[in-house]
Amino acid sequence: MNILLNGESKQTKCKTVSELLNELDIRLGRVAVEVNLQIIRKTDYESHQLSEGDIVEIVNFVGGG
């Protein structure tokens, strides 16, 4: 399916947030995930199903004042 990931179009076979984070090799803890403007709790990463056209944002902490 096609999703929008951090502003870029992406083809993925991943069905859940958990699988997506795995595929991207993103360490849990220190990131936050939002799907269609809804924050996904860490405890829901494995259960939250991704859908065609989902807008996914994965954020972390960077340098700032």
């Binding site: 990931l5 951090n6 502003g7 870029e8 991207l24 090799d25 993103i26 803890g29 220190r30 990131v31 936050a32 995930v33 939002e34 403007l37 924050i39 709790r41 860490k42 944002e57 994965i58 954020v59 972390n60 902490f61 960077v62 340098g63 700032g64 004042g65």
Partner: protein
């Protein structure tokens, strides 16, 4: 020397020099400067993960969250909705309930939109966030933010990155007089003496980023400011002499020839 701990909502801060992690040459320099500062709290920004380059280093690989308290900010947010979104994402990242709340009103000065800031403070405080609003030096605004549930108030000394120091010490003094929560000057400090001035006024801490990261030698400046914050704090506690128009001799008249 007895420890001079600042306690906010049950969180103990050993250092009154709070430091930002932005604008450094690289993560190594960031880590060294923070080490030199003696600070135990660092601000960070919330941004998209680098999806394309998974090998790129992560800030928290250099700044240990178990050694430093992480204070996420909502830098770049120009309205309440964005500030709330970033705050909630920051909390979800699971490191902190603290948020340095920025609702910016103007691109050129980066002055806060205080109306939006007040709204966002109220909402986030109700959601259990420990809110540190970056505000202006208006004592009435500081009081409103306190009433809205801010854990401390962070009046700017001067525009972010301007290095102009504490431009309105009189207003900061008035804020200090009425505030029931800690007052932390955030933004505008240019060098060590500016930090000392803020602390001598009676501020509980100062938050500094550009003055360190932008200095010719950031690690040295971090050390300088560490001493300045301590000096200013001690001078405040020592109770300075009042300013007089005329002289009072320091040596006695008695025993003069």
């Amino acid at each position: 020397m007895k420890e001079d701990i600042l306690t906010i909502k049950g969180i103990e801060f050993k250092s009154r020099f709070w430091i930002g992690t932005g604008k450094y040459k690289d993560f190594e320099e960031t880590a060294k400067a923070i080490e030199a500062s003696g600070s135990d709290v660092v601000t960070v920004a919330v941004r998209r993960v680098n999806i394309t380059d998974r090998k790129s280093p992560n800030l928290l690989d250099y700044i240990n969250p178990s050694k430093y308290k992480i204070l996420p900010n909502t830098a770049g947010c120009y309205n309440v909705e964005d500030a709330l979104r970033y705050s909630r994402l920051a909390r979800e990242a699971g490191v902190s309930d603290m948020i340095k709340l920025e609702v910016i009103g103007d691109e050129k000065t980066l002055f806060p939109d205080v109306i939006g800031l007040l709204k966002a403070t109220e909402i986030l405080a109700k959601e259990g966030f420990i809110v540190f609003p970056y505000t202006n030096d208006d004592p009435v605004m500081a009081r409103r933010l306190e009433d809205a549930g801010a854990a401390a108030v962070m009046p700017l000394g001067a525009p972010i990155g301007s290095g102009l120091g504490v431009r309105n010490p009189y207003n900061i003094k008035i804020i200090l007089e009425f505030a029931k929560v800690p007052v932390i000057v955030d933004a505008g400090v240019g060098t060590a003496s500016d930090a000392a001035v803020a602390m001598e006024l009676g501020c509980d801490a100062v938050l500094i980023n550009t003055a360190v990261a932008g200095a010719k030698e950031p690690i040295l400046m971090a050390e300088a400011i560490k001493h300045a914050v301590l000096a200013g704090r001690l001078a405040f506690k020592a109770g300075r002499i009042s300013k007089k128009l005329y002289a009072t001799a320091s040596s006695p008249i008695e025993g003069m020839l």
